[in-house]
Symmetry: D3
Subunit: 247 residues, 6 copies
């Protein structure tokens, strides 16, 4: 198996978080894998709702298209709402994996039920919708929000990280869950440490998604272009969306 | 009750379809209601997949923001995939209604089960996801696609319209459904005629959504800004998305 | 569009509640609509369980049949359990809307999740069954009962109304819901005031159902007589049910 | 265990079907059990839709109340739609079992999936709703209707019986089911014979319900009066419903 | 109806619990029924997890095979996880009933919702999976564990029994359930007493399963050998499993 | 990351199939991974039903225990019914992955819906139950059986392989699926070839499970011993099960 090049897309425009995510991806990647950590040139500095996601999805698609031209072997969408996932799968033939998706899948492999710990309460509705879409509503015992914005994870104080840790402990004690899913790309660096401290699987989606891309590549599996995820219909995109053409 | 101004957004950039949709909206509107039929300046000429929807969602949000500034009393998203619906609800306080949503709701009020007739088979997955999201998976007996692109409805030949009609008849005979939902904004003008010919409710979402906006307005109900659909978090949008700021 | 005549049926025999309901219906009705508020001549004075509902359903059917003879354009069943709804749809060609149904539908249009506030705890099982039947189980965050009988809303003391208000506030704070559905026709007059005070949508089904009937009428849609909701089979009804013949 | 008296209520007013049902009940009853086969004095001669069910529910309640006064040990509602089931459970302390419920439960004990064979297609929607209410939607592989009215089973020609038999054979071959549920009280006499001929369980709900009543009685279990199924609230019933008072 | 011989299999190897279960079965059995209470010669002394269940399933199958040779009329698997149920149904033509299954079915006949009270918290996941498999997830209001091992029920101190009683009372007050299901074969002797003290149905699966076997036998129904539960494919079993051959 | 040792357990006793599975595992494994392909010494030669699965589960547990003593980094259960999966997870701390589980998860990452192609029709019920347990019932468009026994894949004639291929083509054309899951460990060698010929992802669970074990190992994640999957309770296993002690 030759080297695998994986594009890890931070859907927001924050460079610090792009670095955090890139580092987590590299820590998880196999020796032969190359990680290309990118973020959109234009968009939202953090993603905390449906509006932010809709904007971020365009940046994700631009990056997927660029990655496709660079011939990457897979794409990771590194925001816990998996913004633009199905659209990106239409635009790519290489595998596209969202980090919420990856973390939730992995959690069901090591525990019968898991809890989610995320940032703002308003993002929980997005996680709930993803659970339903992926089939895991009954595998999730509880969802928790620390009630701090995403970028608090990047303020250097460690306060948000401490709150994540405390909420993980609380979840472990109260929810009857066997594993915890971290609900934000910006929490990626906490997973290994918390897994060791709490002695239960604490799962970061960035690393999980990297492994899933590597796995699919090794198995010779790529996004199905038969049916629901076929290439976008050929049509002229106007104005600021021309950069996405030809799709 | 004073006059109600309703912005009807065709999420694609096709002027002909915007007219078709606007006419259907006006035909359904109450005497006092004013219909503002608009479409994005930039985007995709038709919407036939997840990629198209992601692009169209930005145009929808731009229009919602513009409509908000004009003080409209409600917004209709007139594409059967309801692109950008929850994002638009964050951005608006006035009601925002998708035409798939509206048609599906109405169908459950006049029949125990309904069928959907739409354009390309690849769009059926979007309808399926909406059925699940809205709670109507068990109310939908079957989904049908005529296998023609959306813009075939605008080619003036009447061929697509004839195929819609035939598929509706087939659905009525085979599915055990009591009503049919037309799965494209471009089919809006067919509903009344088919309802009369087939003698079962054939439902167009454009008209249905207009009535729902009028209804909510009359009841003094608007999009909840408490919790999941609160205003977007304040943050700087960069580049081509600046037109959406302040959100 | 010509004037719309809507029969609003209070399924219990309490004249005071019929008035409350009628007033709420008129407050919601469009200028051209006429409201005929009626209640059965015989039946139960309030509806607080399955037994009461079974009795009330006969009164509903008698009224629907009478309304049909008067050529009304639609029927509203103004009890939160929607007693006799599908039977009434068999008996009518004009639309028939239940107030639980109407309120729940409306709630999903303005919020991702809603709470219900009703009277006696024993009626919650009926609401739960309706949520499942209509497809909204996952859209309802919580159900609350003030533990007072229905007619406490008519005792003039305002105590029940105060308890409804307090429970709405509690629900808004605890449930993570964006909207509240009032679970009794007798609460209809509280919706607008609570919507303004709490600044979230507080939804009364009576008004909601009136708007849905008006909407369906305007769209030319009536109850499907094809299949599941076809006219009742012709057969002789005996004894006290003869008044329902010919159905 | 002393003798058990079981009231078997045919919810329609047809004496022939009451006899058929009574005979099936007696054939299934334990040596010590006594079967009281009754039908309402007033109502519908056959039950083939929601309207018929609503009317029949009153007759069921009248009979349950009468049976209660006679001190019976349990009640069977012998129509496949289980009309008035939860209302009857409020009105009774002795167990109340519907024949659709009983047959469906039994079917899941001897096969992973079952098929239903019933009379008119319009009654299938009622069976579907019951499957969902009882939790068996995923246990039912298919529903079939012979498209003859209920009373065709009583016309003495044997034609309906022959069509039931043919449809059972077809279901066994095509559906992948291990058992068949007969969807009408009037088919009760066919079950044993078809079970032997087809060599798969063909289940009649009348016999099944009788056994369930006997079972609950032997276990000392009766309808819970705690909570959802508590006695009806005390209130004056007016007019033709006075016969149900005191409930 | 001739005498019915029912094999009641305690899947663990504890003789005391086999006696408890046998006594409960005899107390529930009809006058003509004979109870053969057995347990495997080899296996686990108590069953408190998936591993224990996998081991116990072999003992269950050995007993079913032995019972089949003795010509019993039905088999009961008397452990609340129903270990080996579908495998046993393949191996038997007589009915096979699990006690969790039996108790859950019975509970839905006398209440709209039930609670479960069991032993160790780790067994709750098994009960949850069974609820889903049998279709009763929405009928179960809550699950409770007293956090004592199964064999504490056999230590003669009565402490576990007292904790079961307290938890039943708590469940009745808090869960909104109308009935309680006892979640362990070792609790079988408590059901009648608690039913009388608490005045709600408290259901033991051993008695319930015995009645279901008797019912199926009386109705002439046995496990379907058509399709999913057909006899095991003929094949050589090696080593310690030879005792199961011919299957 | 050091070398990963993965125990791949063929739950049946067929040496040829153990080889086929071992080869597929090695073809998928990363350069540094070592595959230990094993099968039970005693059990069933092929697995085609619930009975076979119950027997095979013991062999799986014996192998897991042996693998644990050898310090393997993960275990694969290479039969499409995933026999003994949760029991094995109790017995292991290293990850345990079933091949049905692995293939289904992978399929949802590259397509919105998948089809399953397996051997005997009677095994479909097992696949259906797994789909529900894993959350993928709505992601599976259709299930197909070629109606040949498992060992026909090992008879050297290629006939079974040809039938698998034909059924895959049929599924691709009719089901609207984007991917196909091969429903038997014995089909493992067909996946790559069919993926290339059909140009849609055709997924073998053996390779997929190997990648998942490697992924979890790389992420430092192992089976949660907190809660539902904790080590089996310490207790004496008797007779032929002593080999499993201490568990």
């Amino acid at each position: 198996m030759s080297a695998v090049r994986i594009q890890v897309i931070n859907p927001n425009t924050d460079p610090g978080m792009t670095e955090t995510i890139g580092a987590a991806a590299r820590a998880a990647a196999a020796p032969g894998s190359e990680i290309l950590a990118v973020c959109p040139a234009e968009g939202v500095p953090s993603i905390e709702g449906h509006f932010d996601e809709a904007v971020a999805a365009i940046g994700v698609l631009e990056q997927v298209r660029a990655g496709r031209e660079q011939g990457v072997d897979g794409h990771v969408i590194a925001c816990f709402g998996d913004p633009g996932l199905l659209a990106a799968r239409e635009l790519a033939q290489a595998p596209v994996i969202g980090i919420a998706e990856a973390a939730m899948h992995m959690a069901t492999l090591v525990a019968t039920r898991f809890s989610i710990v995320t940032t703002l309460p308003r993002t929980l509705i997005i996680a709930r919708h993803l659970l339903r879409q992926y089939g895991f509503s009954e595998h999730c015992a509880a969802l928790h929000a620390i009630d701090l914005p995403v970028l608090a994870l990047e303020d250097g104080s460690g306060r948000a990280q401490q709150m994540v840790r405390e909420r993980c402990i609380q979840a472990m004690r109260q929810d009857g869950s066997g594993a915890i899913v971290l609900g934000c790309g910006g929490m990626a660096s906490l997973a290994r440490e918390l897994t060791q401290e709490l002695r239960i699987p604490v799962i970061d989606g960035v690393g999980a998604a990297v492994k899933m891309v590597e796995s699919l590549a090794a198995l010779g599996l790529s996004t199905s272009k038969h049916g629901d995820l076929a290439w976008p219909e050929r049509k002229a995109l106007s104005g600021k969306f021309q950069s996405l053409y030809p799709c």
